[in-house]
């Protein structure tokens, strides 16, 4: 029995989370690792998938029907290929989360969401209650269908492999659902969930304009910019900036929290960062309890100073 990974890609590039899912698959050690890519005009993506260290075969479903990765179509495709696999893995992303449970239900097995550790091929650890507890779960289903929390697994090398590439047939598609459009953030910055450094602002930033101070620092550090739920709810920045239980989970080498008090739901999204820095004028703010380095300061004085210091 083998392992099937449903890869994600964007603008002809594999998403970095895929490399972490391959790492999880290697930890599971269940047969060969096959990577499924579905979409349109996939030649370049297929080649880069075949080069991933540890991937044995790349399955390519190249069809306009998959151009927008609609959940019903993608799940039908995965189910059509499911035979022979003991494990079917997705990244814990908006896309993976939309498709994984469908595949599990269609195969009549439990879905396992957001694993952070592989204990054994049938036993996994996953955070529950916004990361305030870790559940160890064991599956006796014939097929384990799961999502992998990308920040919990160090990505494998993107090169060094030479997998075979094999086309697969288009499965049934659902005409009742159609893609209308998208409004995506510009992407000249590292992606929030895979950036080495994340600079985040909270309600203390006071308005959206002030986030330009964080942008300035982010450019100097080649960092992604994030935000707390409070800042997103207040309309300072769009939803895709949100770090937390209900937003994105990040674990960069350096997480700089500015004007963020540190609500439980925010901590759940960043507490696995390697180094956490908090700048807040309230010395009682809970964020300082998880920070490696804390600075009690007015952010409107501290940020320009930090920006200048980074030039030095």
């Amino acid at each position: 029995m083998n392992t099937l990974i449903v890869a994600e890609h964007e603008d002809c590039e594999l998403r970095p989370a895929t490399l972490s899912v391959v790492a999880a698959a290697r930890a599971i050690e269940a047969g060969e690792i096959h990577l499924l890519i579905a979409g349109q005009d996939l030649a370049a993506v297929g080649d880069s998938a075949a080069a991933i260290d540890g991937v044995d075969k790349v399955l390519v479903a190249d069809d306009a029907a998959y151009a927008h990765s609609l959940a019903a179509d993608l799940s039908a495709l995965v189910v059509s290929l499911a035979e022979g696999y003991s494990h079917i893995l997705f990244a814990e992303t908006a896309g993976g989360k939309s498709v994984m449970p469908r595949v599990a239900a269609l195969l009549d097995v439990a879905g396992i969401s957001g694993i952070s550790r592989v204990v054994a091929p049938d036993t996994f650890v996953r955070p529950i209650y916004a990361g305030n507890a870790l559940a160890t779960v064991k599956s006796e289903d014939a097929v384990k269908v799961l999502t992998v929390r990308p920040t919990s697994f160090d990505p494998v090398a993107a090169t060094g492999g030479s997998a075979a590439i094999e086309p697969v047939a288009t499965a049934e598609t659902d005409e009742r659902v159609s893609f209308i459009g998208q409004a995506l953030s510009d992407s000249d910055r590292p992606e929030l969930t895979s950036a080495d450094i994340v600079v985040s602002g909270g309600r203390g930033m006071q308005n959206g304009e002030n986030f330009s101070m964080l942008d300035e620092i982010a450019v100097k550090l080649n960092a992604a910019v994030g935000a707390s739920r409070a800042a997103v709810d207040a309309g300072f920045v769009p939803n895709e900036y949100q770090v937390g239980q209900t937003g994105k989970v990040v674990a960069p080498n350096l997480y700089l929290a500015v004007g963020i008090s540190g609500a439980i739901q925010h901590l759940a999204g960043m507490k696995d960062s390697k180094v956490i820095v908090a700048i807040n004028k309230d010395e009682e703010a809970p964020i300082f309890q998880v920070a490696d380095y804390g600075l009690v300061a007015d952010l409107f004085e501290a940020l320009p100073e930090l920006s200048a210091a980074l030039d030095g």
């Binding site: 959940a71 160890t136 080498n253 210091a309």
Partner: protein
């Protein structure tokens, strides 16, 4: 058109979860329980759709112990018309929950089902997607905006929160929608409505009467506290901070 809304009784989002000493789960005795916040958003959206004239009945459905009646009553106090409790004292998992919802859907034939994208206890984020796969109803997850499409009103345009921003899809009804945070701000139930809600119909169906097999092959071995972080240090200035990050932590 009927709308079915799923609601779950969970540990209140302001209460910190504590792992039981025997590692069997989370301490839920004598702690405040509330409606899952994403489900409040689902109830609110259903009420707004009814108030806009697109639906004539909102049914609140919960699966759980008799205490989940309180959660259903909360939905009724917000303005839903009636409630159904599928009663079980067992902790059941998303696949079984989806099968029980399917049972209710087959009886009620709703045009729209709205569920929270995840419950804040198990954080599974599975039930809506599974329900769509099992019933064949269309799926729109992580909704931040729902609009009825065209004059026929037989489809929705749903704006979804995805990793890189927002995506819009058109889905034919009947549909399963799961709610994201920014879909709406739920209303508070007013006192007269809380009183009225006590008289609204609430049907209790024991899980055994549904004929649905709720057994699962996924079991919880143990639940542990996450490892804590070591206490950090406070710095006095940006200069000292930058020095520490460069020379001690070596992250910039």
């Amino acid at each position: 058109m009927k709308i079915i809304v799923g609601v779950k009784r969970v540990l209140d989002y302001n209460v910190k979860a504590r792992v039981k000493a025997d590692k069997s789960g989370i301490e839920l005795a004598n702690v405040k329980m509330s409606m899952n916040p994403f489900d409040e958003i689902a109830v609110e959206e259903a009420l707004r759709i009814k108030e806009a004239g697109h639906a004539d009945e909102v049914i609140v459905v919960s699966i759980g112990s008799l205490q989940s009646q309180e959660t259903i009553r909360t939905g009724l106090a917000m303005g839903a018309d009636r409630g159904i409790l599928i009663q079980t004292d067992e902790l059941i998992q998303p696949l079984a929950i989806a099968k029980l919802f399917k049972h209710v859907i087959e009886k009620e034939s709703p045009g729209l089902v709205i569920l929270g994208k995840q419950a804040i206890d198990g954080d599974n984020n599975q039930t809506g997607q599974m329900l769509s796969a099992l019933t064949g109803m269309t799926q729109a997850t992580f909704a931040s905006k729902i609009e009825f499409d065209g004059d026929a009103g037989d489809a929705l345009n749903v704006t979804r929160e995805v990793d890189a921003g927002l995506e819009s899809i058109r889905v034919a009804l009947p549909c399963i929608v799961t709610t994201d945070l920014r879909l709406n701000e739920p209303r508070y139930a007013k006192l007269p409505n809380i009183m009225k809600a006590k008289k609204k119909p609430l049907e209790i169906v024991p899980v055994a009467d549904t004929g649905v097999d709720i057994a699962s092959k996924l079991s919880v071995v143990e639940v542990n506290e996450p490892p804590g972080r070591e206490a950090g240090i406070m710095v006095d200035s940006i200069a000292q901070l930058v020095d520490k990050l460069r020379n001690e932590a070596k992250v910039i």
